[in-house]
């Protein structure tokens, strides 16, 4: 059976190449888009999730880290520190803004998430230093390595915003949000640089607890007891941030994934169908020789499975091989190929093969073996 399927495919090599190419393109598109989504998903929440705080505290209505509209008075931190379950409280000032390297064209400004933290506690500060010093001093900033790569900013450069500037003294890692990166300054520098009024306002408070297993229970209790204040676990806040940044992309991504699937299915389906129609007489011969419809169905299904398997190998291979190159060329092209996604794509390809074989199979049922007796 496999012999007939394989030979039928190999005799029409151009058709086979087209069919495999169509499935491969579909698998590649699905693979690269899924990997891109996974890469973004991983990067966008990475910093928030990695900050070793048990609870993030913001003002009511705060939805995420990047577009934080949270404003809390410094006194709220004092009140939180009085709670018996709380071990430490660290204030954070977070503000999205655009900056440029001194001397660069204003059009070359780039997005940053400026984070002012308390150097005494280091909570909310750089996750890991790659180069230079930390904590930064007054008027100094630690940038993320992604900022250095994408915008050519080096230690010693000055980053300018209006009439103010910050000197880069260190490079850290783990603060890439793809569309912008975290840059760290001290609370005092943040107050001055952002001209905060009043100076005591904070964006978040980061709490560590004596018993981290009580985090969720405490968050619920505090939300009920302190109206106007929102409490999030690190994971919750990371997910909210991901949702804010990627939530609008996901529906579009799903549409493109469906289109890619349909393209693969259409190409595989049309080529398998035309091959079956062209071989109708031969299928008639097999019927006349006593082969059942079931046998013929399996021949077509095997052709479809072979085509799809080859397409999957080419498409998945291209995804795994080309994704890192794309990432090097376009820094925002952050990809993360997960084996679970590859399994999902395998299942999608299998589904493609089965559906592509369905219409030709229906056609086979109508082949009349008596026709092979007509010269």
């Amino acid at each position: 059976m496999l012999l007939v399927a394989r030979k039928n495919l190999l005799t029409e090599r151009i058709r086979l190449a087209l069919s495999v190419g169509g499935v491969a393109l579909s698998v590649f598109l699905i693979g690269i888009l899924l990997s891109l989504y996974r890469g973004w998903d991983q990067k966008v929440g990475e910093y928030v999730e990695a900050v070793p705080a048990d609870l993030w505290v913001g003002s009511e209505g705060t939805t995420d880290f990047i577009q934080a509209a949270s404003v809390l008075p410094e006194g709220a931190g004092v009140q939180l520190s009085l709670l018996p379950e709380v071990d430490t409280v660290s204030p954070l000032i977070a503000r999205p803004l655009q900056m440029r390297r001194a001397g660069d064209d204003p059009n070359d400004a780039f997005d940053m998430e400026l984070v002012g933290y308390d150097p005494a506690s280091t909570l909310g500060g750089p996750l890991a230093m790659v180069e230079g010093k930390s904590p930064p001093g007054p008027g100094e900033v630690v940038i993320d390595e992604a900022t250095r790569e994408r915008h050519d900013v080096e230690i010693g450069d000055r980053l300018v915003r209006g009439t103010q500037s910050l000197t880069v003294v260190g490079i850290s890692s783990g603060g890439d949000f793809v569309f912008s990166q975290v840059a760290f300054i001290t609370l005092d520098t943040a107050t001055t640089f952002l001209s905060l009024e009043p100076e005591t306002q904070r964006t978040f408070f980061l709490l560590t607890l004596h018993d981290p297993s009580q985090t969720e229970a405490l968050a619920k209790r505090l939300e009920a007891a302190a109206p106007g204040v929102a409490f999030f676990t690190g994971k919750e806040f990371a997910n909210e941030t991901r949702q804010r940044l990627l939530g609008n992309i996901l529906p579009m991504l799903v549409v493109v994934l469906v289109v890619a699937f349909i393209v693969g299915l259409a190409v595989a389906g049309i080529t398998i169908y035309t091959a079956t129609v062209e071989k109708s007489r031969e299928y008639g011969i097999l019927k006349a020789e006593g082969f059942t419809n079931g046998f013929l169905y399996r021949v077509v299904l095997e052709q479809s499975l072979i085509t799809s398997a080859l397409g999957f190998i080419v498409g998945a291979g291209a995804t795994v091989i080309l994704a890192p190159f794309a990432q090097n060329l376009v820094p925002q092209f952050v990809v993360f190929v997960r084996w679970q996604d590859l399994l999902g794509i395998t299942a999608a390809t299998l589904l493609m093969a089965i559906i592509a074989a369905f219409i030709p199979i229906r056609r086979l049922a109508q082949v009349d073996p008596v026709t092979v007796f007509k010269g």
Partner: protein, 229 residues
């Protein structure tokens, strides 16, 4: 000498295509018996019902009336699944236009049809190879059908039909695409091999030159079958 066994028995077979005013009667009350070691030739002009007779005898078409028995089994009321099994196990076809699978080699064409469920692939291969060698095609095992002459193609078709080890062989205009010399050679070969293996052979043809290979000759005209003897 053992008594010849009845392989094919057709009793009062009538075939009508369509219904009502458009009904066409292709075969009328045809009866025929073919025994082991016997070659029957059914002759007749185009449109006389020869192919209809052959396809009913070959379990491809059900008669409108009458009975068909192959190797003692009444196949008249069988469903398509059972008819396919009868064709697979008991009937070998030789077609006018050879009907080889173009993508398969000569050996693969024969081997595919020789295979039956549950038996060993190596046995099919050996049986197919042996059959092709006895038909003088040992040097063509790995050739594709398009690389063969028409005479060679028809010999492959005969090998394919014989490789199934069927009790009944049915040939539809087997010499129509061959010149006189090759046509005669192929028919002699078919007779020799089929009879050597105790098959019953029914040939339908309008080629008078092959009358001498037949033990009995029937004439079919306007759907009516008559013995010439």
């Amino acid at each position: 000498m053992p008594t010849p066994e009845v392989i094919l028995r057709m009793e009062g077979v009538t075939k009508v295509y369509g219904s009502g005013e458009t009904a066409v009667t292709a075969l009328v009350d045809a009866s025929l018996e073919a025994h082991t070691g016997e070659v029957i030739l059914v002759m007749g002009p185009s449109g006389s019902g020869k192919t209809t007779l052959l396809t009913i005898a070959g379990a491809l078409l059900r008669p409108t009336r009458g009975q068909v028995h192959i190797c003692g089994t009444n196949i008249t009321g069988m469903n398509e699944g059972h008819l396919a099994a009868i064709r697979r196990e008991m009937v070998g076809f030789v077609y006018q236009s050879f009907n080889l699978l173009e993508a398969l080699t000569v050996l693969e064409n024969v081997r595919l049809v020789a295979s039956d469920r549950g038996s060993n692939g190596a046995i099919h291969r050996d049986r197919a190879k042996e059959m092709l060698e006895t038909l003088g095609l040992g040097h063509r095992l790995n050739s594709l059908p398009k690389q063969l002459s028409d005479g060679e193609k028809q010999r492959v078709a005969i090998a394919r039909a014989l490789a199934k080890t069927p009790a009944l062989m049915l040939a539809d205009e087997p010499t129509a695409n061959l010149d006189a010399k090759r046509g005669h050679e192929v028919m002699e070969l078919l007779r020799q091999k089929a009879l050597g293996m105790d098959k019953a052979v029914v040939i339908v043809s309008h080629d008078h030159r092959i009358r001498d290979v037949a033990d009995r000759v029937f004439w079919l005209e306007d759907g009516r079958l008559q013995s010439e003897s």
